[in-house]
């Protein structure tokens, strides 16, 4: 059980910090939940108000780890605020209300509420710190997740291929496809666990709308016990069923063999690895890194090769912005996961896999509790090399070993300097030298 949780509470809120009045707003407050809240559902209702001075509020955003989780209209009636601010236009409808699934949050979470004003200004309103109880884990009899958590263009396809070449590990055509079976089912679990979906059968918006079952007005059911069951036990059963679907897929893929792990890739921003670690008692996480400057060169070259921007590059403006924004955020997340002992994550460096595959792999297999004798490791590497022989479409250099340190010649000086400023300490944490 997470620290600070009660026996019955699935979600608890420990602290709420309201920013109150400012140059932009007359005031604002999170009314629900309150500090000390403990709920028996994985859903969390957030209610409050905000009243702007000059520039109207477009909406309120709920963020988790800097990523938007919900966009909420400010349209709820608040006669109490209207009474307090009788001269202010819009005070009577200054309330907002939303419900979110805490399965989209980490166990210990911080939610930030931010108002977006119509001129684009974003104004922090409040932050809520709390905890969510872990989903119940299975007994460990299923094929367990082996999660490769990494940034794109770090050699994850190679690592997944190497891992899946071990007789105790299964993956779906890692060199041809980038299957995300567990992400599919966990994302489905997260979306169906949203209160808007849980309550959709009781307040269907319009049965003819596509995917109507993912949304509803999100009001209350009027039967608290049934609502608690839907948001608590119902969600946990759903998690079990999703686990069953993942198991069925990999059992079918493995045919007669009985592997211990299925291996898939995950991105640093995803909460999927956390949920899988909760749902599977034997889940393991491998954090794969590559000198982030080489990763950057590879992203730029790969995007150029196929003609469109990916790997979060489109979000960040120019290359410098990409480094300061998405890339730095991803690297910091990986560093945080590695430092967080509860993840039990193992570190693998791409450079070791390329330059010294056998010892790197033997060490990894051993740490995962897999057979790691010399012959088996040698066979695994040979098998993976056969599989990777036709991966030209995936490469941006002709020789993987030659790609190590490519940033020294490929990165413009000013971008290398930005990398140094933004990633210097993080590079050192992963054993790379800053320039």
């Amino acid at each position: 059980m997470a620290a600070g949780m009660t026996e019955t509470g699935l979600v608890s809120i420990e602290t709420i910090a309201n920013n109150g009045a400012s140059d932009y707003v007359h005031g604002g407050n999170v009314d629900t939940p309150r500090e000390g809240y403990s709920g028996d559902s994985y859903g969390l209702t957030i209610e409050g108000w905000v009243l702007s001075r000059q520039i109207p509020v477009e909406h309120v955003e709920v963020l988790h780890e800097e990523r938007p989780l919900a966009v909420v209209e400010v349209d709820q009636e608040r006669p109490d605020i209207a009474a307090g601010f009788p001269e202010v236009e819009g005070a009577s409808r200054s309330g907002y209300r939303t419900t979110i699934s805490t399965l989209k949050l980490s166990n210990s979470f911080e939610l930030v509420l931010r108002a977006k004003l119509v001129d684009g200004t974003r104004l922090p309103l409040a932050s809520l710190r709390g905890q969510r109880r872990s989903l119940p884990a299975s007994g460990g009899e299923e094929i367990q997740p082996l999660m490769v958590n990494t940034i794109g263009r770090s050699g994850s396809t190679l690592l997944v291929t190497l891992l899946s070449s071990h007789p105790d590990v299964v993956a779906f055509s890692p060199f041809i496809k980038d299957a995300r079976v567990s992400t599919y089912w966990v994302n489905l679990l997260q979306d169906l666990s949203e209160p808007a979906s849980l309550l959709a059968p009781f307040d269907p918006p319009d049965l003819e709308l596509p995917h109507w079952w993912l949304s509803s007005a999100g009001g209350e059911l009027g039967e608290p016990e049934v609502e608690r069951w839907l948001g608590g036990e119902g969600v946990e059963s759903l998690a079990g069923l999703c686990r069953g679907q993942i198991e069925a897929f990999y059992r079918h893929l493995a045919e007669q063999s009985r592997p211990r792990f299925f291996v898939e890739k995950y991105l640093p921003h995803q909460t999927v690895p956390d949920l899988l670690a909760e749902m599977y008692s034997g889940a393991r996480e491998v954090i794969l890194v590559r000198d982030f400057r080489d990763t950057l060169c590879s992203v730029i070259a790969f995007n150029r090769k196929r003609g469109w921007d990916a790997f979060g590059r489109a979000e960040g403006g120019d290359d410098a912005e990409y480094v300061r924004g998405p890339l730095r955020q991803s690297v910091a997340t990986l560093a945080g996961r590695l430092q967080n002992q509860s993840t039990g994550a193992l570190l693998v460096r791409y450079e070791d896999l390329i330059l010294n595959p056998e010892p790197a792999l033997a060490e990894l297999f051993a740490a995962l509790g897999l057979a790691a004798d010399e012959d088996l490791v040698g066979e695994t590497v040979a098998l993976a090399q056969q599989s990777t022989a036709s991966m030209d479409h995936h490469r941006t250099t002709s020789d993987p070993a030659a790609s190590i340190g490519r940033w020294r010649k490929d990165l413009p000086e000013e971008i290398a300097a930005v990398c140094n400023d933004e990633l210097g300490s993080l590079l050192a944490e992963f054993g790379y030298e800053a320039s």
């Binding site: 055509s173 993912l214 679907q245």
Partner: protein, 437 residues
Amino acid sequence: MALVEIKRVEQPDAVGGGLLGCRLDRPKSAARSDTYSFELVGWALSEAGPLAKVEVLQEGRLVAEAEFDDPRPDIATAFPVAHAERAGFRVSVSAVDLRQEFALDLVVRGPEGFHAKIAEVTGERAPLPAAGEDLIQPLIVNTIGRSGSTWLVWLLSCLPEAVAFSPWARDARVGTYWTSVLQGLARPQSYLAQLVPGPLEQPTWWLDRPDLRPGVGGDKELEAWLGDEAIESVAGFCQSRIDAFYARVADSAERPGYFVEKYMPYQLTPDLLAELYPGSREIILVRDFRDMLCSVIAFNRKRGWEGFGRADVASDEEYVQTTVANSARRLLRRLREQGEAAHLVRYEDLIQKPEETLAAMMAYLGLDPSEEAVAETLARAEANSLESHRTTDKASASIGRWQRDLSPELAQVCAEVLDPVLTEFGYEPTLALASEG
């Protein structure tokens, strides 16, 4: 065993009406699919310019659509117009969105409202595997809004063997919810996303990827498994959620035999539930469609906004000609198709002869229709119903209200489009009553 078999593909021998040409290349008649989906592949070329999309319609309702994005150099060679290069389409159709015996129309659409039907495809799909005889079975109330369905659901939920969720307060659609989830996940546009994921940042990337087509996963055997066994497994998953919910709501030592919910005539859900649950039962509830129309008009006026599909049309006359007439005909077709598998209940009988009507329903459900059991159930229903719904006098008074409430013009429209269906359901035709009056 094939899960889908195409019986017949019909295409016009001659084209025209704004099309330079069109052809459905696949499937051919007698084609079979080992999964719960199949592809429609072809091309169409309009005289005016690029077409926007192709739609697959079942009983006039959209079940799949696609853009014209399949390169067809052969068509470009045959028709030297600029837009011929991308005259091809490929539409994945999930058979779980289709009736077991299905008939599909392929319609192409272009700018300025242009549309043309280019093919008809009929076929058959295998039923979803029935499972879970020990599960709480669906008791389907198939009906049109304002036909007394809330009272009927409430009455049925007063049977010791049945459960419903707060019929007076909510219009629970748990069965529809989970069959809709099943239909969503049974589409190749969803399940293939496991193998070829889209941008993971996009909301519901796992649900709707129109670019995913059979073969995209590069493993035919695995795709076949995903399109067959895995879907059946998801169906079991959905059944278990429905069962868990109603077992929780029933909250009694003895599991109820049935859960009661309403369904609308156009929905495929009753078909799917009937396939999945061997013990499902279906009651088709009708009310004199003219009284129902009066009730819709009055109810919409009372609450200040248009519901029951009335907002989709411009006038009450059009509402009768389209929404009401289509729903009534669907219910009639359903009754004929189901035969003795379904049970017809007329609202008027439910109000005026409740004992007799309830006893007949209980017999249909395989329950004890004794006088005592019927009386106890009715007493329970009357005692616990809302005051506003308890007055059978009021309900009785509403029977035949159309004769005083409907304008002569609207009554005339009812006569023209509803009389044949009304007669089939045992109601007096409008014209006969008008002449009596």
